[in-house]
Amino acid sequence: MKKIFNLSALILMLSLAACAPSEVDDIFDDSPAVRLDNAIKNYTELLKSDGGRWLMEYFANSGEEGYNFVMTFHNDGSVDISTQNAYVNGGAFFTDRSLWEVVSDYGPVLSFNTYNKAFHVFSSPQSDGSGHEGDYEFMILNADNDKIVMRGKKSREKGVVIDVLLTRLSSTEYPTDEDYFTSLTAVRKAAFSDRINNYVLTTGSGKRYICNDVTTMLWSFYPEDGTLLDNGEYMNAIITTKGIRFMLPLDFLPEYDANDVAAQNFEFQEDGSLLCTEDGVTKITGPGLADLFHQPQMGWTFSTKDGEMGGDFLTIYNQIVTEAKTKYKTTFNWLQLGYDNAKAKYRLYFKNGKYYGSIYIKHEMVDANTIKFSFDPDAEGAFDNNGQNHYNNLESMRAMVALICNGEYTLTAEHAMVANPMTMTSKSNPANFVVIGF
């Protein structure tokens, strides 16, 4: 049976009690002071219960990402707080012990009232008097056995709503605090890539928003048919091992007005995408594969691992390696498709021994997951010197260019958020495929 404590209700009840004429029977069994005292005792017991280990999802302010803290509330009034973020211990995992208390203030308030080196750096005024402006006292809004919703007290005084969550942390899944942060680092690394631009949020009605700055958790959004300048929205977020939570609901989404649905929490799905837990339909994925494929900052290297290159790709690639060895006495290193940013042109790029060469093929996006290439060796600027040399001298290089430019290729990827690697498969002959990655 979940125990529910609701501060709003408590305040309302206290107000009612205060307004009630004395001769009217009280609607509660206990006085407000007794009920507040009981709430404090109940929350104190809840925090300490079952090992007292909780994950805090904390926002210091609306201008920076949220931070994770693993907290173990001890019976003796001490609390161990662990974290791993850029502002503590040079970014390395760190734990410190200090004191905690549920006190009577604006209702029950969880206070971390002695300095903890892992936590209070966000409350410190630093040298400018402001610092991160983070809270260390939290009004408890509601709670059940596994989750406590709190609100920063000082932030509230300033008119800023910052809700902070405590959720129970499994000691089976994460035997030590450091295990959690090791896992979080891995999740974060796998979840997003700062090489990728234009993640996509799709609402239930199909409205699409382009999302950027996701790795910093300082998300920006604009409608696919708009611009960041004209229609941009910004929201900071926190990433946990389960998903992400925006500091505030994304109230600019049309569904918010239409259905009063406030998308704020997103959980990782098996394919790496993020699904909104509030409405169950709003989703965040990576950009379309063809879009991602041609983003200027990307360079897609052919994988030479067993099974990751097939059909003519494998045959011709092996011929390139052999032919390079015979004619140049070199070891052929790699092939890559991507932009030559210096010349703002697409290319087939390679490294043979110490030589880098570019063959400037053209590409186009057929649909969201289909691309095609073309090449005119007689066009001006079709090669750089090494590209020309290799194209002229290696029959296999000419064959590879011809293969790449032979019809359309379908792009597929297992991970919906970070399509790395993806597979490029010939539509006309699916036996011809190559796994590419950045």
């Binding site: 003796d76 009034g77 001490s78 004191l99 203030d105 002695t114 005024p125 402001s130 610092g131």
Partner: protein, 415 residues
């Protein structure tokens, strides 16, 4: 430039409120105004030893609540503050007792004096209170003698007793002086001593040296009579002989500045000036008077002040005469490096002059009179020799070391 404020007081109203509270209360001196915590101390608590020590040494003895757990609602919510570390709270608790409460007990002969007049709450804050708009930093504040807040506790070095004395115990002596003069008023003679020289608004911009020469022990003392009184007492007790020697020296000099007295930045005052190359005027006939810090000035055996390692240069061109010696454009004999030589063949130093004391205040005499007045007031009104208090504090400061700190800590940790 950041402005440091040692303390800020909200004296009168809170004092009145405090007196009102005490007059409304039927509790006697032996009763505590705080809830009885004896039954609440949990032997299994992480802080049991410390809490027990605080109860036995502050609450039970002085009726004082030593608040080391920070409560937002006890602070000015406009500031971003951090709590004190438990370790520093323990250190400051034992040190405050040793350096302040025990000193008064030693001099007054009992704990009753502080129990009656001492603050009721001592609150610790880990960070300073920094105003983001002005950059002003508060490291201590008091509210009518009821509550003294000591800030910046997390930067405290418990072995630097001089800094502790200056940053924390000075504040406590200062605020306690306010409590005392609210009970028995400041002598009228003291109130009249510096009239016309106070600066209630811009005291923060005043230069310490210059304020010494006006007869104030600190710039803050020049903000109001009551602050002058409290600062005189607190500094007399806490400053060392060497620090007072510098104040006396400052107070005896004239001070001047070439900065903007009404500008935003604190300006520097100087007590020495010189003329570059010993020329009082330049080619245009304008004065070349230049101020210089005292640490760049030496005094010769004959009492003359000179610029350290600076000498008069010859006027170019410097040429070789028929006698083979070097001469400047004015015919002065020079050495090969171009410095003018006197008749003994020595380089001529750049002469430095003391700034004329034009403030019409004998700062040293005023300060001495103020100290005499506060000593007499302490003796006559409270039966306490201020020199005894000072000697006790200075003795504890001079004999303090790591072993003493360990001994004090053991009062808590060794229980």
């Amino acid at each position: 430039m950041k402005k440091y404020i040692k303390y800020a007081s909200a004296l009168a109203l809170v004092a009145i409120a405090a007196m009102s509270l005490s007059s409304c209360s039927e509790k006697g001196l032996d009763d505590t105004i705080f809830p009885d915590v004896s039954e609440e101390l949990d032997p299994n608590s992480y802080t049991y030893k410390f809490d027990k020590w605080l109860k036995e040494n502050y609450l039970d003895v002085y009726n004082l609540d030593f608040q080391y757990r920070l409560k937002d609602n006890e602070t000015n919510m406009n500031y971003n503050l951090e709590p004190a570390t438990l370790e520093n709270a323990v250190d400051l608790a034992v040190l405050a007792k040793y350096m302040w409460f025990d000193v008064y007990e030693e001099v007054s002969g009992s704990k009753e004096f502080l129990k009656k007049y001492g603050p009721r709450i001592l609150m610790l804050v880990g960070s300073p209170a920094i105003n983001p708009q002005t950059g002003t930093i508060i490291v201590g504040l008091a509210e009518g003698g009821i509550k003294v807040t000591l800030l910046h506790v997390n930067s405290m070095n418990p072995l630097n007793i001089y800094a502790l004395n200056s940053d924390y115990f000075h504040t406590m002596h200062h605020e306690f002086a306010h409590i005392l003069h609210q009970t028995k008023s400041i002598p009228r003679e003291f109130q009249l001593m510096s009239l016309g020289h106070f600066e209630p608004i811009n005291w923060e911009s005043r230069d310490p040296h210059m304020t010494h020469s006006l007869g104030f022990v600190t710039p803050y003392a020049s903000s109001a009579i009551r602050e002058d009184f409290a600062e005189t007492i607190a500094n007399y007790i806490t400053l060392s002989d060497a620090e007072w020697a510098r104040i006396w020296d400052d107070a005896s000099r004239g001070w001047a500045t070439d900065g903007d007295e009404f500008g935003d930045e604190r300006i520097t005052y100087y007590c020495y000036y010189y003329y570059p190359n010993n020329n009082p005027v330049d080619d245009a006939g304008e004065s070349t008077q230049t101020y210089v810090e005292s640490n760049k000035v030496d005094q010769l055996d004959d009492g003359t002040y000179v610029l350290r390692n600076q000498y008069q240069r010859g006027i170019t061109p410097i040429t070789t005469g028929e006698d083979g010696n070097r001469y400047d454009a004015n015919g002065n004999l020079c050495d090969n490096a171009g410095f003018v030589l006197d008749k003994n063949g020595q380089r001529i130093p750049i002469v430095v002059y003391p700034v004329e004391d034009k403030d019409n205040v004998n700062g040293a005499e005023i300060l001495e009179q103020k100290i005499t007045l506060v000593k007499n007031w302490f003796k006559e009104q409270w039966g306490i020799e201020l020199d005894d208090l000072r000697n006790a504090v200075q003795n504890r400061v001079s004999t303090f070391d790591a072993a003493k700190l360990d001994e004090l800590r053991q009062q808590v940790y060794g229980q």
